[in-house]
Symmetry: C2
Subunit: 698 residues, 2 copies
């Protein structure tokens, strides 16, 4: 039993603002509750003694104790009503009333107060600006919508009330059932994370689905959803995907890793299966709610029609699944059971005159193959095939083998009766082969999610105090940008940097250069100059004897470029052998929802032109760090493609983890770019650094 | 009237093999024709006088003249029957009988003979192994399938008979109508190109759709479809997409540009809109068959529900369309017409209590905006909204403004009646906002196709005779592989190559090197050694005085690597300045269906690891050549990204066209790779060449 169980399983529900006025929301809710709810309904309205045949109370204090209160009073009195609910000891509240933050100004202030009252009385509030909630086992429809839900094992939350109304109307036609339904409204108190947690504990919820426009506390959501998805699949439509690009991002990394990428990474790390449309949402949910997990990725396709069989094979090719390779025994058995013209290799084409028995034999043999994890039955209508009989056979064979089976019984009216039979036994029928395979693909995706191990972030032994002191420089300098002069920040976190020093006179420059083997690299150090090379602020391969002049030149160019630039000195750095090394970039941009978003890519054109980057929400463990490196398209370059010497990928993996620790330890770091991090055969070196610090946070 | 008009509009149809035997195909066809066909049906069967109440004839010669004969006799007598049809002067034949090439052996021989008879009598044959054909205006159902089609403006061909049966059953439920339907069967005589041509001339066909597993003569198809799609959209499902990778490809380019890429390029060049599933096929066809073209890419979204409005906006963002920016006047008009809480910016949210009038006003104002090319009406069910009334309003506003409008009236049963009304006026309703937008997107795609200009391939002034002589070397050498020794082939076609010569003794090597400014590059020339660098067969930056020794060394290494290798000599080539240049690859692989498939990409990792290439079926004009270059992801590198000097892209464009001409002029060239073609600021130079020649074709 979860913390919110009384929200969905109340014995008594008060409707604060109940009325019998035609067209009023307070009437619609009361009617919906009166007509189906198994518990007691208590109308609250100071100006009535009775509403719709139910005894009405003037206020919460005079009413019998209730587990849940649904509030539909007008905005000006809503806060008072909720305070009364708190005083009466009711802990669960659904606020239908609108006119809060969504209207701005006064409404936003009202929402702030609502949050305070909730904290004061420890109230679990859904809404405000909610359509209401439903729970089918006890018949509770505490919404003002025209549709009631059928009972089923899908729990459904939505940030849009209209989305619920639209979906229920359609789902009822399709005979798709729900356990709980929640219209989240403004999410002032309870949000998606609370319901994911609650339904994760609910044995009657097989799948959690949702429509969200935003996730308020991404980090908490990821943590909770990760646990929940060990058992219960979560499928979400997160809309507003394409607006992401509009977000202004102040640093280079930020510009690439926009907010939609944070959602993409965060939801992926959370173990959420993402749907891009209403259709996908239910195509996935139908498979996930009624079928067992496949024990292998091999799919058998059984059909009576070549063309649709090829289409199904294409769809398998597009998915994470693959066509099963049958064992010799399976081939022999199929050959014995099928006519000569049939194709006994996968896809099995039992040909146009296949009757129920032949279809059943083919499916039975295929499901018995150890290489088959799941099956799709695809059929075109023929004179010899009754779809409802075929449905029964499919159900029987599916249960015999306890493997997931979906169907694509193509056609119109004649498929309907069969669909009904199949649905009862948890087998989704799809109109299109591609959609049938997408259902199995969602099952396979959920298996992957369940089986993945997410290792805890390693805690490296670092010098956190020294790092804090370095970051404090920003406060001391009254400039929130730190650059190459703060490379010791990386050293404090165990990230290798080249030998060198920042100096502020040409003599010292020569001394430092002489202490370094070979030629040196010299770079102007100034928070005001970002593109050092462009203005001639970088010199490569400088011999010791040229260092003095080079110093003067670099400083002169910087001054010339921007006379009032703050110049912190010139960096003298050892020359690295870049012939055998690869430039990479590791960056971080703090996302308002998900927190520190790490970015990895190869330097230069790979990030800027090919946009070949990977992102993760920090903190991350070793496995996720390695995945970041392996999933960029250009990864083979690091791994030693085309005769190159492989880079020390493990050192890159470790550096990404150390940076993950740094940005997690210091929320004051708003943005950070190590660009480049040079990866050679014998390790990595961070060559340059830029970061922005929120000095108030330090 | 097309060449095949009598196939779809016959006055008399003979059924050769007509029978009244229960369950026989010959009976099913006769029944289907008898029950609906407006013309005369003539059964042919030597053992009956009458079949199903119709007068039966012994053979074609004794029967009245017929426009079309449908053949259902058994395989052993089918050829004789078709010969009789030819003798009788009937020119159009549908062969239902199976047992041809699809069964191999004897069947394949039968199909060869069928082709001969067709040529002898000039017969237009559909099939064999066909389900039959339909044409709805005259009620002709000459198939043995259980379903008849409703009348409509979609003409439909399919390489799978079962696909037709499945689609018709579903389409009848959805009340989707067809003009002509053809089951292509084995395509021995008539194939997809013939029907595309025929329906392109048919004023009653608004959209051509098809399910194909292959296209037999890709080049002819492209040529025909290009013309047809000036007026009539073609939407195809081409299955077998994911098998492409399995095709063996012998050369480097071939391995990358597999057969699926040829279909992708060929269908794109043909102007075909490709669908990947049955659902997409009809989502597109429904929009294309009933709506006008949009005159701009701006979409207005009108909704009563925020969430679905955001989803629709996402879908527009994913498409080639964009959300329209309303004029100030539109904003003013919407503000005046909508309540305060409504959103008058796009998407227009008329909010939950929007009635028919408000919806109508919003749509009217939006469609009146000059920036709006099309609109989506998205609605959640509410108490104040009757969907059938809303449908009428949408129809009215759409016709007033003559702009395309699609709807997404979300919900189940309540949407059905509205759908029916909308359908009658050509407006498709979709269950899902994403699908509604995909319908508009198909319309916009078709506009693009109609508006594109495909310039004729330029005929460069080349030395074709010299090229032929060079290719003949392959015959003379009895080796179908030519290499760098044939660089003069490129010169004959006006493609620049570096100064240099192939020599076969070290003294001559030194002489050539001395005649070239600066250092030289030396490469072993041998058809047996592909990866010259790997075996030490290439030396870069060789000074004149070292050329003699380098010659000996390169040859020794080659001998050492492969003692029996044919060594044609050593190439001495001028050193190019590669600092400011970019390596590109231009290749060609001859596809069995589409002919010469050109490939372009940047060299090295871009092709091999990032697979960043573009392909086109040759011959191509200047625009297509330029598109090939611009559509690779790394194109900005050539155009001068990141401070590089831009390469001479026009020279690359010209080289691609010249190679297009070369491979078109010489079908004997099976594969060709110019790798690299170095593109610098002042032009291009082809550095290396490999090609394979079919010496029999020369």
């Amino acid at each position: 039993m979860g913390r919110l169980s009384a929200l969905f399983e109340p014995e008594t529900v008060a409707v604060v603002g109940a009325t019998d006025r035609e067209g009023a929301v307070g009437r619609a809710i009361l009617e919906n509750l009166r007509d189906g709810f198994a518990g007691e309904v208590v109308p609250i309205n100071p100006s009535r003694d009775e509403v719709l045949g139910l005894e009405c109370y003037a206020d919460m204090s005079s009413a019998p104790p209730t587990d849940l209160a649904v509030v539909v009073v007008p905005p000006p009195v809503v806060l008072e009503a909720i305070r009364e609910i708190g005083e009466a000891g009711t802990k669960h509240v659904v606020v239908i009333t609108a006119g809060f933050s969504e209207t701005g100004g006064e409404g936003a202030e009202r929402e702030r107060e609502l949050r305070e009252i909730a904290a004061e009385y420890d109230l679990n509030i859904v809404g405000p600006n909610s359509l209401g909630i439903m729970s089918t086992p006890n018949g509770m429809n505490a919404t003002f919508g025209p549709e009631n839900a059928r009972e089923g094992s899908i729990s459904f939350m939505s940030q849009s009330g209209a989305f619920i109304t639209a979906v229920l109307d359609w789902a009822n036609e399709q005979e798709i059932g729900f356990q709980d339904v929640v219209s989240l409204g403004n999410k002032t108190v309870l949000d998606e994370t609370d319901f994911v947690e609650e339904w994760g504990d609910d044995p009657d919820t097989d799948v959690i689905i949702g429509y969200l426009e935003g996730i308020d506390h991404g980090d908490e959501f990821v943590e909770t959803a990760r646990e929940v998805t060990d058992d219960t699949p979560i499928v979400l439509v997160k809309s507003g995907r394409t607006d992401a690009g509009a977000q202004a991002a102040s640093s280079h990394t930020g510009a690439i890793a926009g907010s939609e990428r944070a959602y993409e990474a965060g939801l992926e790390q959370a173990g959420v299966i993402r749907a891009n449309s209403v259709q996908e949402l239910f195509d996935y949910a139908r498979a996930l709610s009624g079928l067992p997990e496949p024990d292998s990725e091999g799919v058998a396709v059984v059909t009576n029609a070549g063309g649709p069989g090829v289409l199904t094979t294409d769809a398998v090719g597009d998915s994470r699944l693959r066509m099963a390779q049958f064992t010799d025994e399976t081939i022999d058995d199929l050959t014995a059971a099928m006519p000569d013209e049939a194709n006994v290799y996968n896809p099995i084409d039992a040909i146009g005159d296949a009757d129920i028995e032949r279809f059943g034999d083919a499916l039975d043999i295929a499901l018995g193959d150890p290489n088959v994890g799941s099956a799709v039955v695809v059929s075109a209508p023929t004179a010899v095939l009754e779809y409802d009989k075929l449905a029964e056979t499919v159900i029987e064979k599916r249960e015999d083998h306890d493997k997931p089976v979906v169907t694509c019984l193509m056609g119109g009216q004649r498929a309907r009766a069969a669909e009904e039979v199949l649905r009862e036994f948890g087998i989704p029928n799809y109109f299109d082969p591609a959609r049938a395979v997408s259902g199995l693909d969602a099952l396979a995706r959920f298996s992957e999610i369940r089986e993945r191990t997410i290792d805890d972030p390693e805690r490296f032994d670092v010098d956190r105090e020294r790092a804090r002191e370095i970051l404090d420089r920003a406060t001391r300098r009254d400039d929130n940008r730190l650059g190459v002069e703060s490379m010791d920040l990386l050293e404090a976190y165990g990230i290798p940097t080249p030998e060198g020093e920042i100096v502020d006179d040409p003599d010292r420059a020569r001394d430092v250069a002489e202490s370094i083997d070979g030629d040196v690299v010299m770079k102007i150090v100034s928070p005001d100059i970002s593109h050092k090379s462009d203005i001639g602020g970088v010199k490569v391969g400088v011999a010791d004897e040229d260092v003095y002049d080079a110093y003067e030149d670099v400083v002169a160019r910087a001054r010339n470029y921007q006379p009032d630039a703050t110049i912190l000195g010139v960096q003298i750095q050892e020359m690295l052998d870049l012939e055998t090394a690869t430039e990479t970039i590791v960056g971080m941009n703090r996302d308002p929802q998900f927190g520190p978003l790490l970015l990895f890519g190869l330097g230069g054109i790979f990030v800027e032109i090919l946009e070949d980057t990977s992102v993760r929400v920090a903190p991350i463990g070793e496995g996720e760090a390695r995945d970041m490196i392996d999933e960029i398209r250009a990864a083979p370059l690091l791994r030693g493609a085309r005769g190159r010497e492989p880079a020390d990928v493990e050192a890159v993996v470790e550096t990404v983890q150390r940076l993950s620790q740094l940005v997690t330890d210091f929320p004051a770091i708003l943005e950070l770019d190590v660009n480049p991090l040079v990866a050679g055969p014998d390790g990595v070196q961070a060559i340059d650094l830029r970061l922005t610090v929120d000095t108030e946070e330090l």
